[in-house]
Structure formats: structure tokens, C-alpha cells
Symmetry: D2
Subunit: 374 residues, 4 copies
């Protein structure tokens, strides 16, 4: 490690990687620190859905953020492939948001209506229509909202892709390096202390996922995040069971390359415990069997878990720390960390460069809770 | 490989290992051949139950064989530990054969009666009694037959233990070596041809598990075996959920060292396919949850499968091939391969030495089906 | 499995996969059988070099075969990606065939001369030139023959890509299925017997790599192949050490995506033993350190081995069995199995369709040795 | 987690496990917290040598500590086996401290003399004598100091053994739980804050290995430790290459059960980076080949690394924090963490109970450096 960098990024996940990549493209001298190994936490565990419309449903600042980020993937896929040889496995075959109950059907039809009126592509498919497109779906499926633009990527490949592309552009990466404290002078960040010595920089970006809150210096404006465990498993068949992604209440099925099918995810708030429980597997299995009965003949591959950072109001944190100039925060992406990584990298880069951001990020500033209380 | 051995053993599983070990103890010069890696098929996949009484229930040649074999484990455990440092993880805390239905209860009480009258230890435990001993059991359990002497071992450790103990006594082991044909002269075996050349010996023992039938030279007295896939999974807790082994219809739970719990096994006949299916996991999970509800909080470890050799009459094959002098067969042990390995090693050694066997093995000879037809 | 197919392919490696894929494109109903798991032997172990010019050096039937096959990769990469989502990781950044000794330099300059006169691209680079392109190379490197068109792919991804693309086109794949004998009628193949029953077909293609010889029916025209073990290892860095592939006497270094570097391969003839030896690792490490000294700072990833099928005259077998109509053989590709897979698939398809092959394959017919003896 | 415990242990390695076990035997209500998974750092990576005499050589407080700890293993092995089924794989076949140079021979003969005069068993073996006992040793070995009592165990099994035995005695274990701060009242510890909430206790023991210093509350009496990476690899043979442990300058070889041989360890100070480098593997391979030439024929298994806590004066820290009543520290064991774990558990338990310790620990108190400066 040199002693001085334009920017230091704390966190070697998908958002740290995207920030490093975008800063490096602007010619910044960047150091990225990861306390363990790259892309081993939520970024390596995620299913990789780009569910801007399926997950967020109604317009608002997060919806706009997600839409813009989703649009960045095709070009990013090419850039990352060129720089690193890594294929992020972008698939643009749409997403089916499934209704099982009459109530869900009613709700989804309403969302289709809302979104189409807002100018988004979204359409309602009857049971016959959805099952003719995805014959593996059971007849418990009443119908589906189909969203053409909600694709998916490989979360581990995207994460490594950003990080290795950043390295190719000169970013220095250090694994097994923990930040132990931040260095400040007159309210400005001047560097960090790590378990491998101190490093100077006027810009420090914390992108530590669910661990960000605990990393940050104590101040009167704390993050209000909590960890949410998600468990997943994957199976394999020679002929793919599905073409598009199936998104339903409590269970999604994401078809990956070569006949892999990823099934996720449970929602266990307030734990950093990354073990997979029998309960998690068992409940996902039940849901997946109800949606795609033929999954029972698939080969079991493996199960895993990740810890996602949720916030009290469901919005991420993106911005400069109000109490410390030069300290930036990018976390709280919850289930949208993969989807939002591209725009997150771009926004933080603009903030570092003191330029306007491509979307309004005032809803994501750290001090929003404190202000609301007032 | 030398060119000449007293005995050649074909198969590097638990029975090949036991035979090698027992022959080496008698001073024989032995070569053991394994087509893949040691202990990677059924021997490495088994749960390791020594269920002589629980599995076989009524007296007969197989029951006697099983009982004698079970009695050999304590001394073997010491011998293997001394020679190799390997602990076979013998646990002698008994087995609970569980009743869920009234019919099962009636049947098990009858078996307790039969076995005790035959001089075996076996006792009936009421629901209260069994749940006071194993508090993790659900109240779906009506009661249990408790068998004190039906212990368990680690199947992979027993298999490797036999093989490495044999190596310590001078047995030569070759992995990745396939037998392509047998060499005969005037009705006597004289050696084998392998993918690494030919080797001479007047005694060739086929202990290839479910692959034995296909290995053997074609003759008018074929084996009548078929493969049966069994799928398992394991979970972990810090405090063990169980003390003794739980044996029920379609599901057993075997407590292993350090809080591991092994759950087995499905029964899929007529396949050599070793993949684990979603169906297999799902059905075992349901059964295990019904018996031990708290298993839902355990940590998921992994799933695997093995292929067991079953025979048309449920009895193993142990003996000399009626058409080829010097060719011996030890297979068809089905779910009792671990339990029967010690006595199998001893019996084959006696046969090679042309000495009487410690139990009557006439029921296990290859030619039994042909004779019956007559 | 159905009972009847247009073609049965024996072997689930890269060549079996390519044949299946090319037959399926012609509308054939195909069954592919693999005795273990797909792409787990040499096809999954290979480094993936497309070293048509670097490996074969001088014109001849194998050189022509290799050149045509190399040219097929760009289109195949797109087809496989479209059908399966699998990226075969084709890299076209050239190959450096390195000289360390004066004798090697003299030889390589001669080969550059021979190839350029034959119309191939090849150029000689001085020490300065090669080290300015690949600064990680040591000054032990005197110079290099640079071959622009000798690229590389991921061998495991290509293998799975072919197999899964074949599945997408309707090929049925069965793992854990061993062929135990062939069925013939009046000199024509009519099907096969497997450990999961018999299947009928008038075309059976044996693409079993080093195991092909032992699979084939005994006849007066045997294959003359032998297995050659190759050991490899891989390391990782954040910034790639190399851009192009380095090919030297006894050691090659192939840069893979995301900073992986694959180092191969030892040459151990006459063994099917797939274990990696200390000797293998140790000798490769010495060679790699001499070529790229900075490899010492790279992270160790893992080591593995594969068994390649070599023939007595160094040429593969591609053609119909002279003694059995409808029985085809594709093996003996030695270190060129990945490179030759595309053309192998096309040639076998043409043979099955009784059409002319795109290259003259008379040098590769099985009966060549017998004829020569005469 | 309950809200209140007699003792909280921070660190789920071998020393945390031993402390938990010894406290639980005294009836204490104990909570053990591990930030990642149990026994995954140095405790799971160690070779398990009990090299009291071989490593420490001359009398002094650490030598006495080591000797007493070494003597505790046989009984612990039985206790752990009884409580958990885990075999710690204690081997008592002695250790050979090898001389290659004349200077080493001179030094070792001196140490034999010193130790025997101090009443310890130690003997000098000539080249012939040592090679007749360990025929795999090369003739580069001039002779060896043989220490009968310096045995070895499986470090991962001992670590898990302590931890699971503690769990069996009622200790509550929480993985993925990080301590974020300590709670104090009037100079006494009252509990801790974790990422999963706060817990009260009047006794907190920090046994976090190389991470202990960073864990502890900042005070004027800091630990003076630094991390030292050690890299290892293992190989396998059917017949063991060695019987006793070989200990030489820069390389040791420890024979494990079933023919495994563990080779360690490099010494890389001042890094927490747990990656294995090509350099590490390469230098160990060279040393191991010089000692045991036949290792080249062994099968390569795998490589790994661990981070050991070293102190500026080479002595561990064992005692109560001088600034905070009820806060205890057990770290700095460097290469003797496995050897010293039993006595560490006993000493901390005595300190918690305000009883005299079995050995004088004044040399290991935290405040020793501060005092010396004065």
C-alpha cells in the first residue's frame, strides 16, 4: 500500500467494486480494502435479479434510482468483459411476478395499470398465457405480471467483474484488511487506520453492506440499518426448467446458465448469522415445489446464505456524512444491492468530484431521520 | 505392482478393505485394486448403523451373520486405531426403533417378544420412557423398541481404517485401476487383466459392491443383484439433539461426533445415478421434522447419495464362484455393508485358506438361485 | 431413456458434447451416455489452449484439422452463449512460444519461416519485443515465436457449453451410465447394453477419451492408444500477470478471466491415476518461476490432473470402425482435445449422414496401423 | 442469548474453547462468542505439535507452562472423547529435532545436555540411529535430538473438541457475533456490546488470537502483539512416510492419521492476509524434499494458512487486565497455541475464581512492558 490515495473504499462487495470502477474511470488513484475476501458476503450470495419494477412497484426516488441503474447493465457487461474476461451473465428475458391468490391477482393487475400509465412496460398474463410461456409452472399460478425489462445477472460474477475491472484500471485491492478507525482533522476525513497500518486520503467511502453501520465513526447522525439474512439453494437440470425469472410472494426462481436454477430467499431480520438452517431450506423447498412441481426431479446442488443491509424506511443511504466532510456512505440496499450497484458507483463518483448526480438523491441522505424527528 | 500376489481384491470399499485387512493379518501378500478412489461409493456414503436386531428382526442365517459381525467392532476399533491412528467412531448407545402408528407398535412389541425369547436383549419403551431418554423426539412417537447392542460407527472412517490398516500390514493398494478381464486356466483363476497391465494370483476376490455383477466374468451362474440409491443429509447443532440412533419407517437419524446428525436414507432401486434429487431431500426433511421437530433450528450441512447392492432374495453373496476355482465373491450387503464388513473379511480369509467359516454361509452361496429353480 | 435413437454417443466430455451438438443441429434424435459426471476427466482439466500452430508446427493432416477447428470457435462461442448462457471464454490475444536456449531459438525461427512460407501468420519477437509486450517474463527468455491466431478458451466451460447446448436442442443426457457391451447384427451395430438397460440405435459413437480403447468391442483392428497424465495448478492475482498465452518446453501459462493464471502440464504416460503428485507440482513450479518470476507473489489456488488419450503415431482416431458398420470412433486427441472438438463434432456428423467431410480424414482412420504392417 | 452470564469468552478458537471447557467444569454459566465460525483461524490451521522441549529448549516460565500443559493431554483426550465423540488424535511417538549443518548439530547436542541435566528426557541420535527409526529421512540429516514426550494432536479436532465439550457441559456458543465494545462501571467490566445486542457479565475473557489486541478496549496498557502468517500443505500416502514428528530449521513434518503428512510452516510477520502464496508452497516443498526425498511420490492434498499472534518478547499474555477488573486476556501464544491451550484454560479458570494458578504466571502479565520501561 502506498501512503496516499485520492479515495479509499471500505468494502469489497458489489457496491465497493462499482464505486472503485467508476472512480478509476475518472482517473482517480483508489485503494479498496476488504476485511475478509472479495465478494463473499451478500454480493456473492445474491440471486442477481434486476427487479426494478417487480420489487419496487410504485414510482418514487428509489424506483427512479433502480430504473436508471437497470439501464446501465448492457454497457457495463461489455466493459467488464473487455477489461477482465468476466461475463456478468446478463439475461434479459423478463420477469414474471406471479399471483397465487385472488388478492394477489387484484394487486398485480393494479400495479400493471399504475406502471403502464406511468409509461413503463408491464403487462398482465392470464394463467394460460403465462403457462404457455413457462410450461413448468403449476396450475396454482393464476396469472402473472410480466416485466420485460427486469432481467438478471450473476451476482458473484458482477461483483468480481467490477472489482477486477477496477484492478485493471489501476485500483489497488487489499483483502484481509480491516479498518479500525477513521482519521479526521477539523471535521474533514484525512485517512484511516487499519490492521495493516494507516493510509491517507481526503475521500473515504464506506460500502460495507450490513457491516457499514458498525464501521462508521460514532456520531450524532448514525445509520439506522439492520441485517437481514437470506437463505438460498440451487438445483440443476440438463434442460432448463424456466426461461424467465419467477417472482412470487416469499420465493423467487432465477434460471442461471447451463440449467442451474437458483431458489431464494428467506427473510430473517436482525441477525448476522450466515448459517443455513433446516427451516430455511424446508420452507423454500415447499414454495418452489408449489410453483414448479417438476423441480422435484432436479439435482440438488447446494445451499447458502447472505446478510443484506435493510434500513428503517426501506431506502438506501447514498451521500456524504453530514458530520464529516469527505466521508461517503453507500449502504442499505437491502435486496437491491446488485440492481443498484451501477448507479451507486456513478453517484458516489459524482459526489467525490463535487458534480451533480444523475438522479435526485436527497431521499437517501443520512440525516433524513434526524430531520424528520424535528 | 509386482507381478504375483497371494490374493487380489477388486474393490476399495469397506468390504474390500476388511478382506484385505484380514488376509494381511494371516500373512498373505495382497493387492487391492480400486477403479476410482477409496471409500467413495456406498462405503463412504453410509450412515454406519450396526442395526443387527433393528434391521433384520428375526432369526436366520443373515441375523446370525450380523450378530457375529456386530460383536467384532470393539476389538477392531482398537486394532485400527493402533495401526493407523484412525478412530472408527464406534458409539454403543443403543438404537430406538420407533412406532408412529398403532400397527407399528403392535409389530415392534411382537419383535421384542420374539427376540427376547431367542435370548437377545430388546425392550419396549412407552412414549414417556422413550421421550425421557430422547427429549427431542416429538409426541408423534408412540413408543420404541430399544436395542442396546445396535451401535454405530463412522462409515467413511471404518472404510479408510480397514484400508489403511491393511496398507500398514503390507497390502498394496492401487487406485484408478480397473479390472478389464479375468484370467483362467482349466477352470481356475490365474490372475486379472487391468487398465494398468496384468497381474497373477490364484485367488481373486470381487468386493465391488453394486458394480460386482458387471465386473464378474459372464457365466451360467450370474449374480442376481440390483443397485439401490440411498440419499442422505446431515445437519449440525452445538448441543447434540439425540444420544441414541433413531430408526423409523423410511427415515433414520444417527448422531455423530461433535453435534452432527445424519439423516437417511431414501430407497431408489435400479439406478446407478448418484445425484441427490430435490425429491430425496424434501421427503427426508418431512420425515425428520415429524420425528424431531427441533431439527428445523439446526444448521444445514450437506447432502449426498450412495448406491447399495441389493439381491433378489435380500441375502448377500459370500463364497467361491461355483464355476471358477479361486474366484470369490463378497457383495449384495444392501443396507448392511458396514455392519457385515468385519465378518465378511474373516469369512473370505477362511475360504481362501480352505478353513471352516465361523458361521454357516450356505445360504449366501452364488448358486442358490439356480438350484432353487431346479 | 427411450428405447430407440438415431445416434448414441458414449462419453460426456468435450468431444462427445461437440458431436452431440452437431448431430442435434442436423435434427438427429441423440442419446449421450456418460459413465460418471459430465466434463470431469481431461475435458474439465485441460488448459484450453487453441495451439494449432504452436503445438503442431508443420503442415500435415493434423495441422489442417487443427486450423479448421480453430476457425470454428468464434461462431461456436456465440451459438453456445445463445443456447445456454454459457460463455466459453474465448480469448484471442495470441500465443508466445518461448525460447530459453539458443537451440530452441534456432528451431523456432525455422518454424516461423516454414509457417509464413506456408501462408500462416507467425512472427519472431526478440527478447526486448516479447518483454515489452509481456513485462512479467524473465530475462531467461531469449525471444518468442508469436502466433496471433492461437487463442484459448475455458475447457470446462466449452465442454459444458457443448453438452448443455446439445441438451437445449433435444439431446438426452444420462450420467452414471456405463456401456457394458455393444449389440451387433450381421456386422452392423444395432445398439448398446448399459448398466441401466439396453438401447437401440444404428449409429453408436465412442468418444470416451483415454477410456475409449477399453470400451470398444474387441476386434482384430484395435485402437493403439495409451493414457498420459497431465498435472496443472492455478494461481490468482488482482492485476493479470500475462495477456497472451506463454508456451515453452515443458510448461505453459494460460491467463484466465479475472486474474487467474493456469500453469500446466506434466506428461506422465501409461497411467490412469488422476492424483496430483508432489513431484508434479514441484517441477511445474520451478519452470513457471523461471519464466515469470513474479508468480511467487501470486495466490495459490489449486492443483488437479487429467488423463489424455495419446496414440502410437500421435494422430487421433476419427472414423467408422472398419469391422462394424455404424460404429464410429473419435479419440486419441492427446493435448489437442479442446482445439479439435469443433471439427470432430462436424466430421462425425458428416460421417453419420454419409456426406463428405470438410477435411481429408484418411490419416485418422482406425485401420491405418494394420495396413502399415502389411 | 440470555442477558447475564458468569463469564463471557470472546474467541472461538482452541484457547477460547479450553477456557470455556474448564470454566464449565467448575459450574460456571458461560457464553462464548465467535465473530466468524469456530476453529477457522490459527486453531484450525495449526499442525498440532506439542513441542514443549523442541520449540522452547531452555528452562524458564514458558518452558514450565508448556511442560505442564503437555502433561494434560492424555486425560483431556479421554474427557473430550466421552463428552463429544471427538478423537483429538493424540500421538505420543516423539519428535526428532533434526540437524543438517555441523553448527545445528553442535547446538542440539548442547540442548540435549542442558535438558537432561534439568531432568528432562532428551537424547542425541546419530545419523544411523535416526535413519534406522525413520528410514524416509535423507542422508542430509546428520543426526537428531529425540524428545519422547513431545507428541502431537489434530489441531482442528482439539479445538472443536474443547468447544463441543464445553457445549455439552452447558456453555452457550454464538457464531457470527462480534464484540463492538466493552461495558464498564467504576473500573470493573460489566458486560459487552455485540452486533447482536448487549450481554452482562462480571467476567469477560478475550481469547481472540491475533485479533485480541484490536478487540480490547483502548487503554494505557496495550498489548504488544503482531500477526505472523504461517502457510502449510498436506500430502497423502497409503503407507505412512514417517512415524514421529520431524522438526527442523524452517520446516516440520507431522504424520497424521491414515497416511496424511502435514508440512509447515512459513513465517510471515505483520500480516493478517490468510492467502497461500506460490512462494510459501515453493519454499516448503524444497525443504521437505531435502528432508524426505520420497515425498515427491506422495499425493498432493491441499494448502492453507493461519495467522498466529506473536508478542514483542515472545511470551504469551495470560492474566487480568491491570486497568479493568474482571477483564482477562489469553493470547500471544504464537506457535504454541495448541500446546498451551489446556493450561491456559485452567489458569484463566483459577483467575476467575480468585484462586492460585498451578504455575507462576507473573512473566505473562499484560503490564510487563510498561513496568520495564519504568
Amino acid at each position: 500500500m502506498l501512503n496516499r490515495y485520492d479515495c479509499i473504499i471500505v468494502g469489497g462487495g458489489v457496491n465497493g467494486g462499482s464505486i472503485a470502477y467508476h472512480l478509476a474511470k475518472k482517473g482517480k488513484k483508489v485503494l479498496l480494502l476488504e476485511k475478509d475476501r472479495l465478494a463473499r458476503k451478500a454480493s456473492g450470495a445474491a440471486a442477481g435479479m434486476l427487479a426494478a419494477q417487480a420489487e419496487l412497484e410504485e414510482d418514487g426516488p428509489l424506483f427512479q434510482l433502480a430504473k436508471q441503474s437497470r439501464a446501465m447493465f448492457p454497457i457495463l457487461a461489455e466493459e467488464i468483459k473487455d477489461l477482465t474476461g468476466i461475463d456478468i451473465e446478463l439475461v434479459q428475458k423478463g420477469m414474471y411476478k406471479i399471483s397465487i391468490t385472488e388478492e394477489e391477482e387484484y394487486h398485480l393487475k393494479h400495479i400493471v395499470d399504475v406502471q403502464t400509465r406511468a409509461g413503463e412496460q408491464a403487462e398482465w398474463l392470464s394463467q394460460d398465457e403465462v403457462r404457455s410461456r413457462e410450461p413448468a409452472l403449476s396450475n396454482a399460478v393464476r396469472g402473472a405480471m410480466f416485466i420485460e425489462k427486469d432481467g438478471q445477472v450473476s451476482a458473484p460474477q458482477l461483483s468480481l467483474g467490477f472489482l477486477k475491472a477496477a484492478a485493471a484500471l489501476g485500483v489497488e485491492i487489499k483483502e484481509y484488511t480491516e479498518v479500525t478507525s477513521f482519521l479526521f482533522e477539523s471535521g474533514k476525513v484525512t485517512g484511516i487506520q487499519t490492521n495493516h497500518g494507516s493510509v491517507e486520503s481526503e475521500h473515504v467511502i464506506v460500502a460495507g453492506g450490513a457491516w457499514s453501520e458498525q464501521l462508521l465513526p460514532k456520531s450524532q447522525i448514525p445509520l439506522q440499518t439492520y441485517p437481514v439474512k437470506g437463505e438460498c439453494f440451487s438445483v440443476r437440470t440438463h434442460q432448463p426448467l424456466l426461461t424467465g425469472t419467477i417472482f412470487s410472494h416469499g420465493c423467487y426462481l432465477v434460471p442461471k446458465k447451463g440449467g442451474r436454477l437458483l431458489v431464494g430467499a428467506t427473510v430473517q431480520p436482525h441477525t448476522f448469522d450466515q448459517t443455513v438452517t433446516v427451516n430455511g431450506i424446508s420452507s423454500l423447498l415447499e414454495k418452489a415445489k408449489r410453483l414448479v412441481p417438476n423441480i422435484v426431479h432436479a439435482e440438488w446442488e447446494k445451499a447458502w446464505a447472505g446478510i443484506r443491509p435493510q434500513t428503517v424506511d426501506g431506502l438506501p443511504y447514498l451521500g456524504e456524512h453530514p458530520a464529516y466532510e469527505g466521508l461517503f456512505v453507500a449502504t442499505g440496499h437491502y435486496r437491491n444491492g446488485i440492481l443498484l450497484a451501477p448507479i451507486t458507483g456513478e453517484i458516489i463518483t459524482r459526489l467525490v468530484e463535487r458534480e451533480p448526480t444523475p438522479v435526485d438523491i436527497s431521499a437517501f441522505r443520512m440525516e433524513r431521520h434526524t430531520e424528520k424527528i424535528i
